[in-house]
Structures are given as C-alpha cells and as structure tokens.
C-alpha cells in the first residue's frame, strides 16, 4: 500500500520534472529565435517604409539613385552625391587606414618585444572602445582647422577630413583583428623560412602575411564596416553639402549623415526617402557581410 502511494508520488514528481524540462527547452528556443525575429523586423520595417515611395507613390528608383538634387521641399530626392561621398570616403579611409593598421599589426606580432607589445596592444584595444563621437570632436578641433590652414580653404570640413577621421577610427579594429590573425600563424612556418636563409623581413612578408591572409581580410572588412556605417563623427567633419565631390577638399554628405541630419524633422515622403537611403546603406553592408562570409568560409578550408 505504502509502496504504491510512494511510486505514485514519485511518478507525479517525475511528471512535473519532465514538464518543466519540456517547457524550459521551448522557452530557450524562443529566446534564441528572438534574434531572427529582430533581424526580420528590422529588414521588414526599413524596406517597407523605404520602398513605399517607389511601389505606391510612383517615384522612380533610378532617379532616386542617380538623381543629383536633394531638395525635399521641392519633392526632389536624388542621393547620387551621397552615394559617391560614402564610397569615396570609405575607399579613402581604406587607402590610409589599411597599410598603417596592417603594418602596425605586423610590427606588434612579429617585431616588437613581448614587453612593448603588452603595452601597445591593450592600449589600441582600448581605443577601439572609445565612443566614435569623440573621434569626431577631435577631428573638428584638430584635423579640420589643420586642413583649413594647410590648403587655404574657406571651410576645413571636407571629404579629406572625413577620410582622415574614418582612417583613424578603423585603425584599432584593423590592428587588433590582424594582429590576432598573424599571431595564429604556426611557428614552424617562420622557422622553416628562416632555416632556408630568408631574412626576418622576407619571412614576414613572403611567408607569415600570406599565411594570415584570410584573417587580415576579415580585419579589413570589419574596419570597412565601421567606416561605412559611422554617422555622428562624420557629421561633425563632413560639412554636409549636397554636391557630387570632385576634389578631396569638397564638403560632402555621406548616406549616414543624411539620415541623421534630417530624420528629426522629416515627415511623409521625405521620411520614407530617408528610409530608402537606409536601404541603400543596408545593401552596401549586406554585400560586405557576404564578402566576409565568403572569406571566412575560405579560411575554414
């Protein structure tokens, strides 16, 4: 009798346990799915809002991309100058930031003494965490007046100022990621090359760097992502003029700054066009992510 009630109670307790197990694994799954849901919501809302003028209101997407006039009050929405500004600024920042960042990473991983690297590497990592606004403040206070005086400009806020600020901002990212990649190259590579009589520098550039290629590419793409998406720091140094830049000293308005500058007061079609600007920016990032995925898949092999 008592054995029976006992086993019934154990059965009950077990049932509760199994029930809890089942419920909790469902809850965990739902939490994990939240990131998928968030991504879908973000893409859904931005694309829904941004495609509305073209699908419903009859605006031409071609005119939007290749139009050179952005005058919301006159119903003119062309973002060609901003696309050009974003691309130029990003490429310019890459031209300066990648060699400096990569060489710094090589130095820290291969040439610097352990003690020196232990001081510099964490300092550079820390700089990756500094709010990007502060890079903009620095750019406005130092880089902009410097350019103004050096080139005798009426206004130092220019494409070149944006390029310099973005190059500085991507440095910590590139250095940190590339350094990790270079350090991960097995020592046997170096020893083998040195044993063949190749100099240290020759070994670094002909053996170690090629071996760390995929990690270095990842570093560059991550730095690129940071540059193309940066907003507040860029507003401070870009000048924000709506022209297609023809020289480094032109005042520019990249895609991101257009959104941030006008979102506060935009309404109706104007606001939807800012979302459309967001779609263009989003497409750039998606292409980047795709490239990054390709690179890391290659690195896996």
């Amino acid at each position: 009798m008592s054995i029976q009630t006992n086993s019934v109670e154990i059965g009950k307790a077990n049932k509760r346990k199994y029930f809890l197990e089942k419920v909790s694994s469902r809850v965990f799954l739902i939490c994990a799915l939240l990131s998928v849901i968030s991504l879908l919501l973000i893409i859904g809302f931005v694309f829904y809002k941004g495609s509305h003028p073209f699908l419903v209101e009859g605006y031409s997407f071609i005119d939007f991309i290749f139009g050179t006039d952005w005058v919301p009050s006159e119903d003119k929405f062309g973002i060609f100058p901003m696309i050009v500004a974003s691309i130029f600024a990003t490429i310019g920042a890459l031209i300066i930031g990648v060699p400096v960042g990569l060489f710094t990473a090589i130095f820290l991983a291969e040439i610097a003494s352990k003690r020196l690297a232990k001081i510099i590497s964490p300092a550079i990592q820390l700089l990756a965490g500094i709010p990007s606004v502060l890079y903009g403040v620095f750019g406005l206070a130092i880089i902009v007046p410097f350019l103004q005086n050096t080139f005798g400009l009426a206004k130092g806020q220019s494409l070149l100022a944006v390029i310099l600020v973005l190059a500085i901002m991507m440095l910590p990212t590139i250095v940190t990621v590339a350094e990790t990649a270079i350090r991960a190259v097995p020592n046997t590579y170096r020893e083998g090359s040195l044993a063949l009589g190749v100099s240290q520098i020759g070994t670094i550039f002909k053996v170690v760097v090629p071996a760390a290629k995929s990690g270095i590419m990842t570093a560059i793409v991550l730095g690129l992502g940071r540059a193309i998406g940066e907003t507040m720091a860029v507003i401070l140094v870009a000048g924000n003029s709506l022209i297609v830049p023809t020289s480094l000293t032109d005042s520019v308005r990249p895609l991101t700054t257009n959104i941030a500058l006008e979102m506060g007061y935009a309404a109706g079609t104007h606001q939807e066009m800012l979302f459309a600007t967001g779609i263009v920016l989003f497409s750039f990032i998606l292409i980047l992510n795709f490239v990054l995925a390709k690179i890391s898949a290659k690195g896996g092999n």
Partner: protein, 275 residues
Amino acid sequence: MRQLKDYVLRGLLWLSVLLSVAVLVMIVGYIFVKGMNLISFEFIFGDYSPTGGGGIWPMIVTTIYTIIISLVIATPIGILAALYLQEYAKQGRLVKLIRFATESLTGIPSIIYGLFGAVFFVTTLKMGMSIIAASLTLTIIVLPVIIRTTEEALKTVPQSYREGSLALGTTKLQTLYKVILPSAMPGILSGIILSIGRIVGESAAIFLTAGTVAALPESLFSSARTLTVHSYLVTQESGDIELAAAVGIVLIVIILGINISATLISKKLNKATNK
C-alpha cells in the same frame, strides 16, 4: 639590394606603429587637456543649464537608465538563447539560421538601428522619443554580444561537469542551473560588461530614438539625452569643444573602468579553468 629593401620595410613598420600610437595618444591626450579644466564635482553632479556653466548629471542619469533597462532585458534573453544554441540545439538548419541572424545583427550600422527604432518603437508602438524606446533599440544591439560571449563561456565548461552531474541523476535543467551556469559565470559577466561599453559608446541609434531633451528624465517615457549625444550636440550646435571634451573625459573614464573590470574577470576565469 635585398638588404636595402629589408631596411626600407623595417623602417615602414616602425613608422606605422609610431604613427598609430601617436595619433591615438594625441586623441586621448587632446580630450583630457582640453576638457580637464571643466571637470569638477559641480560639473558631474550639477543640473544642466542651457545658458552654460551647468553640469551633466541629467545625461549621466539617462545613460545609466539606458544601460540598466537594456541589460535587464537583453541579459536573460541572451543567456537563454546561448544555452539553447550550446546545450539543447541539434546542429542543423535552425541553428545555422539563428547564428546567421545573430551575426548579421552585429554588422548592421547603428544608424539603421536608429531608423528601425524610430519607426517601430517610437511610432508604431507609440512610445514616442523616449528612454524606453532607445533602451529597447539598444537591447537588440547588445543581444548578439551577450549571446556570443555566453556561448564562448559555455564552451569552456568541461564536458565532464555535465556528465558527472547527469550521472548523479539530476535533470538537464538542474545541471544547467546548478553546474554549468555557475562555472560559466565569469565569461558571461565579461560579456555583460562589454555590452555596457557598447551602450555607453552608442550615439546615432539613441539620437533617433531618445531625442535630445537636456533635463533629468521624469519617467522612462521622457525624451532625454545620453552623454555621447550631449557631446555631439554641444559640438555641432554651439561649437563648444571644451565642454564636449569634458564629457569625453567622463566617457573615457567609464570605458577604461569597464575594460579593466572585464580584464580582471577574464583573468579570474582563466585561473578557474586552469585549476
């Protein structure tokens, strides 16, 4: 000839590292030199006055609110999501999809998050420009960070812990709660600390969702400005670099504190796993 090339390359390496370090030292140095004069007890704990001379207490409070709210939401969700990915899920399509989504979220620029927050939380859910709308947007921004660091921490928990616990007749849930989570705690903590850094440094997304009102927030539904947004606005609107730099000092000190505690915790973690 070859030797010459070596010398040139070696010189370029030195030049690059000097340039990087010099620029970065210059930025931090400039912010400190320029802003130090303004730093005082009054500046940090005083109320803001639009005519100048006021403090930044409202922005500090707003920043703290955004940190607390977004972490209170993102931490449990992120940890449970990581537990699912590491301890429950069978590797397959669904896990691949979740990982792809998490990685994609990491790559989205903050201005896009701002656009989304502005149309979803501010307009569609009728929260208005507010601390709560900004915090919810930030929640999505830091969620991938917490998921990834928690996953890494869970990976370091030895398989024998799980087997030992399950062999004693515990359920999976009990093993998670009493064995796995405690030993993964330091890693999870450092993930949370990293998220604080991300929240403190964020500006564009907050600018579009919390607005710019420079006053102590009355409720979570008030518009308010964080430290980064304040630093941006005083530079953009009044060109007050000195004030922006002083706010910058506060930000850098916070980031420094965050980094140091993260390093200490991960050191503790290493010690614990090496035992």
